[in-house]
Amino acid sequence: MAKVLVVTSGKGGVGKTTSTAALGAALAQAGEKVVVVDFDVGLRNLDLVLGAERRVVFDLINVVQGVAKLQQALIRDKRLENLWLLPASQTRDKDALTDEGVGRVIAELREKFDWILCDSPAGIERGAWLAMRYADEAVIVTNPEVSSVRDSDRIIGMLDSKTVKAEKGEQVKKHVLITRYDSGRAARGEMLSIDDVLEILATPLLGIIPESQDVLRASNVGSPVTLNNASSAPARAYTDAARRLKGETVTMEVPVARKGFMERLLGRRAA
């Protein structure tokens, strides 16, 4: 049965789009049929991160309004035949999306795909609401930093009250994905620890993505990090997270920082 998964955060810039692309690609690499849907109307970026920016013809709003058929708007990834993109509109007004229209498109996608990943815009306004509206599960992308954790808490409250599932008295299954994690800074007490974040948000952990050059490098070239450098630390962390989404039990690895030159020179004293 198809699963609708919203990737959300409240706060901007924490890695929603990167994570949507990486998780979508990882699921597709594992043989699942996946569509990633960009809900960030006016500020679309999922096409860019996936390297499909020059192939966009129709978008989500066109489909919602009946201007284009779903088949016309879906873009198939050139590297992964199981991965598809439904882009957001760059020019249209975000009010063009309606609850009922989004519901119709999601229902149609459910018939065609195993996974529907909705990339939410930042904020807690209408766009974020529509992105989570029909979700069965949610990935809450959180940086180990006070403002991100606070916003995640707000989003969790929204997931528990404003989704179709919540209105039916059911629960959206929630997972926290910690991104931009720097183990060195966490060990030195400069950054909230994984335990701090999980304790505060009281939500199970899906994965820990280390802060890494590889993530930036991958979006520079328009390729999900799991595809661009599959053996890199963030790619492995995303691949493990995707396996957990599929229900597999995978041991959680806390990324360990490689010691820098100075730290090695100073030995353990610096830690």
Binding site: E145, V146, V149, R150, D153, R154, G157, A186, R188, G189, E190, M191, L192, S193, D196, I200, R269
Partner: protein, 93 residues
């Protein structure tokens, strides 16, 4: 000397515990704010409905208040009952 230097460094950099504590206090407050108005409204309506089954009440005289403390919160329900209420109750019982 080197110990002092280390202590000075660690004192300056270990800000995560402060972050955690600030967040815990803030979120406890914000979560309360979100649920509060709704919860109190629902409680008030339901308490009013139950008591009204037995006593005629002035809806404006039913006050439900929540006081959030550090470790314990209290729920205060203040219902003003018209005079002669107990006599009527005795007659019924």
């Amino acid at each position: 000397m080197s110990m002092n230097l280390l202590r000075l460094l660690s004192r300056r950099t270990a800000s995560a515990p402060v972050a955690r504590e600030r967040l815990q206090i803030l979120l406890a407050h914000e979560r309360g704010m979100l649920g509060q108005s709704d919860l109190l409204g629902v409680l008030r309506e339901e308490i009013l409905a139950v008591v009204s089954r037995h006593v005629t009440l002035d809806p404006d005289k039913v006050i439900v208040r929540m006081d959030r403390g550090k470790s314990v919160s209290t729920l205060e329900v203040d219902i003003e009952v018209p005079n002669g209420f107990d006599k009527r109750m005795a007659a019924v019982g």
